[in-house]
Amino acid sequence: MAAINDVVIKIGTVNGTGSASANGLLRKAIFRMGIPVVGKNYFPSNIQGLPTWYEIRVTRDGYQARSDRVDIMVAMNAQTYAKDMTDVTPGGWLVYDSTWPRNQLLDREDIIVVGIPFSRMCNEHFDGVRTRILMKNIAYVGAIAALLDIDLEVIKELLEETFAAKQHMIASNMDAIHLGYDFAIENVACPLPPKVERMDATSDQVVIDGNTASALGCVYAGATVGAWYPITPSTSLMDGFRSFCAQYRIDPESGKRTYAIIQAEDELSAIGMVLGASWMGARAFTPTSGPGISLMSEFIGYAYYAEIPAVIFNVQRTGPSTGMPTRTQQSDILCCAYASHGDTKHILLFPSDPYECFTMSVQAFDLAERLQTPVMVLSDLDIGMNDWMVPEFEWDEDYVHDRGKVLSADDLEEMEAFYRYLDVDGDGIPYRTLPGTHPKGSYFTRGSGHTALGAYTENAADYQEVVDRLLDKWETARTHVPEPDIAYSTFNKSAILTVGSGNGACKEALDRLGKQNVGLNYCCVKAFPFGESVKDFIEKHEVIYVVEQNRDAQLRTLLILDCDAAPDKIVSLLHYNGIPLNAGFVVQKVLEEISKGRAA
């Protein structure tokens, strides 16, 4: 049930009508009142004219996942009115635009329906079609403010910040806010029981999407070359990088750019550019999604074998094939782990929220250069494009980026000879040289068979020496990748294990299960290959509920392959309909398994 500072508002509108900024205003106002809040987009693969929803979860407990309730539905789109009404949780409210009569047949006894004539009020008050449409959105923000007791001064403050350069917009937007607000105050018993009350839980927090956070991470990682081909849901990552670079990457002396963003003709080319730039010593990256990974696979295998750093962001969407481009999933885990033909395997990082998107961006470049191999950061649409409340990012001014084993001109001058693929240090990682450094550093980079000395080979032993050494490097990688997040609540023999965006829902589920006296331990993996701590965690438990967002239990497969985990103790809880995971699903599935006789 909804309660004070625990309420879910879902707003149904038409995409392309400017509702995103109104929804952002509402979400920010609640955040500014010190109350934890998250926002989720449910949008069509379309530019303008189709239904879209935004869900604001006010969560005093600071949960990150989608809720399984809709306490207040704002049904602004007549096209989806019937469906929107059925989505309201019993005991909830539905707000609709009463300018036009609604079909009485679509009534529900167990919810309260509030009609507010948004269109009529805005048509009477504002001129111009575009303005009227935009202001109608702002008016519903005003109505919600009244229903939930949101401080109008906070809304005004936000509008003043947004329209600092367009003062007249502040007044007109506040007029629209008051149209909705005043009507609600006069006609509805405001505030509703699940209202908001000021808290002090957001002062060290931000609300940000994962793609923006990754882009900011790329800036702090010192990336200078970004090559990409636009694809939903990764596009906003490069958009973010471009806008940060426009501000922070202009050489003060010449006014020229210290970065290159290249929109490639396709993903085949984007990854080729990344390899060329990384080979030359720049930090280079490409953001993409599943279909892009399929196209890049040939070069990913090349980079693995020729040992070239590369950072690839895969903001996963619903597959297979084109799938549902604007829905989320974690269904590229196996495809990325083993991308390309031949014996290949790749380092994967799994951020579970935008905070980790920021930190893992920096880590990804360090690992790629340290280990001279592609590193893929696997977020998903839920993390990448939704608004998460996370702690403020920090940057340690003393941080030294790990540029890996790169020989300088002085190093080469002193050396007798340089051999590209020789394991000098015994950690499986050879030394590399950058073009343009020194004539002694030259070598021929190739995807064909090569010896430890870097020469072409078709010799059995020489070939095998190099691919075996790559396995040594893989074991070194295992000790370099981020550790899992492990929590023992009450030590027992069962646990939940998840990955990436499953973290929020699973942590909330652990709380709920705990209240029902089902105590489970917890592990959220952060990287592949899995470290010793993941192996150890699996060994310690008799039953592990692996929660992941794909049909085929890909994380489970990877655990079995990489950790020698016993298949029969891993129980898969799979959620793969494209909607972000919620705690209710996890709780229900765990309880079902327990009732079937699985130990808890």
């Binding site: 060329g276 080979w279 010593g281």
Partner: protein, 351 residues
């Protein structure tokens, strides 16, 4: 095999360039291509061109894709980094490398299979971006490594060793590049080193994308009677238009050409290439004329060689983007992150 070392004996009488290096210093591993392969002649011409331009070996990057042509960067300038990439993707790797370091000279070696089929998209877009590189297309109309299938540049009526003649329209890289606005377009013949070396030198010095399409007969699969890319056919049908001689800014090589028919064109770096008009009506700065000329000669069954088009006014990729002169790869990490305190300011937007 490429790991066989050439003997390291250098005759004292070999001429040296400004760096004190001989042409032997610009050689690579022993070629593994078939004896008599046109590509080996191109390799020799590249060695000569790079030697004569006094390019420091480590300041050259050798890029390629897959195929017979793409193996050749192993056979020249041993002391340069080479990147033998995947099929048809040399342009993208070169684009990225060049984006990271604009100070190096880039020579990409490709073939008709690599550039005109799987790599057609990348070839086209490298031209559009005007990447500062010398793109050598060793064109023999046939797939050698897979034993003699037609490539997309095979002429209608070309006969394979076995099977039926080609019936599909060929893709002509020169006309393609011309239509896309490439800024330096040349064609030559692997057996004509006198023409080829200056064309490659001009291409290396040109500030932007330069294509050198080189008819390079395949002795094993496409040098028989009936082939339109055989030695015999090419020698018979070759039609020189414009020969050039590269002139360094210092102006050392100035003679040996008839000045009355010479047309000097100043390049970006201040150096000049001298255009020799075999046909005095030909103007290599006009795309319209180039198109017509190529078509007329093609209809007459002739292969036009020489410098066919030159445009030195268009900016190369970095200048189009407004990039700093220094290589991006050389920028110190501290200079690449926002100043202290900026992160807090950025995060304010998300509060």
């Amino acid at each position: 095999m490429t790991y066989i070392k050439k003997p390291g004996i250098v005759h004292p009488s070999l001429p040296k360039n400004k760096l004190g290096l001989t042409s032997r210093d610009y050689e690579g591993a022993v070629s593994t291509l078939c004896a008599g392969c046109g590509h080996d002649s191109v390799t020799a011409a590249i060695v000569q061109a790079v030697f004569e331009l006094d390019i420091e070996p480590h300041m050259l990057a050798k890029m390629s894709g897959i195929g017979c042509s793409s193996k050749t960067p192993a056979y020249f300038v041993q002391q340069s980094h080479g990147f033998n990439s995947v099929h048809g993707r040399m342009p993208s790797v070169t684009t990225g490398a060049n984006a990271a370091n604009r100070n190096l000279k880039y020579i990409g070696v490709s073939g008709d299979g690599d550039s005109l089929s799987i790599g057609a998209g990348q070839f086209v877009h490298a031209i559009r971006r005007n990447i500062n590189m010398c793109y050598i297309l060793e064109n023999n109309g046939v797939y050698g490594l897979t034993k003699g299938q037609f490539s997309a540049s095979a002429d209608i009526g070309s006969k394979p060793k076995k099977g039926l003649p080609n019936q599909q329209e060929p893709i002509d890289p020169v006309s393609t590049a011309l239509s896309l606005g490439a800024t330096y377009i040349a064609r030559s013949f692997s057996g004509d080193k006198a023409q080829l070396v200056p064309l490659i030198k001009g291409a290396l010095v040109h500030d932007g994308f330069s294509l050198v399409d080189i008819i390079s007969p395949c002795v094993t699969f496409n040098d028989h009677d009936g082939s339109t890319k055989s030695y015999a056919h090419t020698r018979q049908k070759d039609h020189h238009v414009v020969d050039i001689d590269y002139i360094a800014p210092a102006g050392e090589i100035t003679t040996a050409y008839d000045e009355g028919s010479a047309m000097p064109v100043e390049l970006h770096d201040g150096s000049k290439i001298m255009l020799h008009k075999v046909d005095s009506t030909y103007d290599p700065t006009s795309r319209a004329i180039a198109f017509k000329y190529l078509r007329d000669r093609f209809n007459a069954g002739e292969i036009t060689t020489g410098l066919l088009y030159l445009n030195d006014s268009r900016k190369e990729m970095h200048d189009l983007m407004g990039n700093i002169d220094m290589p991006l790869a050389d920028l110190p990490m501290q200079s690449l992150r926002p100043a202290k305190g900026e992160l807090e300011k950025i995060l304010k937007r998300y509060r």
